[in-house]
Subunit: 223 residues, 2 copies
């Protein structure tokens, strides 16, 4: 069975990606990177999801990006509550070089595990301002990755998959529901109140809107 | 003063790079990544070097790559004692995706710090089998990095410098000595005995050979 490394945050998008990779016949190796983000409730969500899907391997890597700062997700910058898609600017929830750091760790994990495929939940729709979610970035990362590793120098190429990149949140949810994704186990909120979603941050905004547009019940527990 | 992020391990190469960037007029921000490598004596060396050069900012990030394994530097694989340059194969001291992970962290640090330049000590001479030290890899990383960040999307490009890439160890040492690099404070050994160099691992081999070929006294304290 061919293996794939999945960057699993425990959120709606990455959980859908896991289900898609599984449906495509991959043996799943989940990688969760706990980077000191505020929403550590995600970490618990990632564990529930791995258990639900009976994933054999789940690595949790700790990397304290709070040292670096510069983001509302790791720093004392307020989490935005408004509709980010209205602005073209990069939102304050952008974590400097986050996807590059996460994909690099996934690349190392893929090499060690003899996996040719890496999946992650990048999406350009809701967060149009995130540079590291765009197709040209993903393609440049793949090119670099194929020059970076021992595996690649031996001719075994790595592929970076971002199957959600052009989907709307509603399309992501419909895709996931068709694959029996248990969205009640996922967590998206940037500013949870204990383990409940705040309902007002930008992550909650898009999640709510997604369920509405998918015309399905939102299973999220709000504070 | 223009800022530069320097990946500083505390070894001979990265210390020389720091001195070169300083000499080129950069305000230095040192980044040391402690990835659970055996030679944690390097971490102490990095602190001595930062002190010697009176570097204002030194970030130490911990990232436990032992979880990942797959290398003699992080795993229970024997550190090689022979001359690696005789073989074309990637040596067991190769750490999966190491330079990609380190450069990604440097990229995040550069973005937060408003730095356009990143320096690291990649070198193709001694370790010809390391894919992530080659010029085409470095150039592909730079291309990717310029699509990855908010800074780049605002037109402020980042440059990845590997000034040692084509130098022999003797040339590196001569360059450093001309810049008053205190090599006695640096640490290269993969398998130190307390804080003394083993004298037999591949890192010691190339270091010794470098001082011989540079026709200068080797200040390393061997066990």
């Amino acid at each position: 069975m061919k293996k794939a490394v999945i960057l699993l945050s425990g959120g709606l998008d990455s959980t859908t990606v896991l289900a898609m990779a599984r449906d495509a016949g991959f043996d799943i190796m989940a990688l969760t990177i706990f980077y000191g983000q505020r929403n550590h409730v995600e970490l618990q969500a990632s564990k529930r999801i791995v258990k639900f899907f009976d994933v054999a391997e789940h690595k949790i890597l700790e990397l304290d990006l709070r040292l670096m700062g510069g983001s509302a997700l790791t720093d004392d910058i307020a989490v935005p509550t408004h509709d980010l898609s209205l602005a073209n600017a990069v939102p304050s929830t952008y974590v400097p070089a986050r996807n590059t750091i996460m994909l690099s760790l996934a690349l190392g994990f893929a090499e060690v595990s003899d996996a040719d495929d890496i999946f992650f939940g990048a999406n350009i729709h809701d967060y149009s301002g995130y540079p590291d979610c765009r197709p040209n970035y993903i393609s440049a990362f793949e090119t670099m990755a194929n020059l970076a590793t021992k595996r690649a120098s031996e001719g075994r190429a790595v592929r970076i998959h971002a199957p959600l990149v052009n989907l709307s949140k509603a399309e992501i949810i419909k895709t996931g529901l068709a694959l029996q994704v248990p969205y009640e186990l996922t967590h998206s909120c940037y500013a949870p109140v204990e383990d409940l979603a705040c309902g007002t941050c930008s992550a909650c905004f898009y999640r709510k809107k997604g369920f509405e547009e998918a015309m399905t019940k939102d299973p999220t527990r709000y504070a």
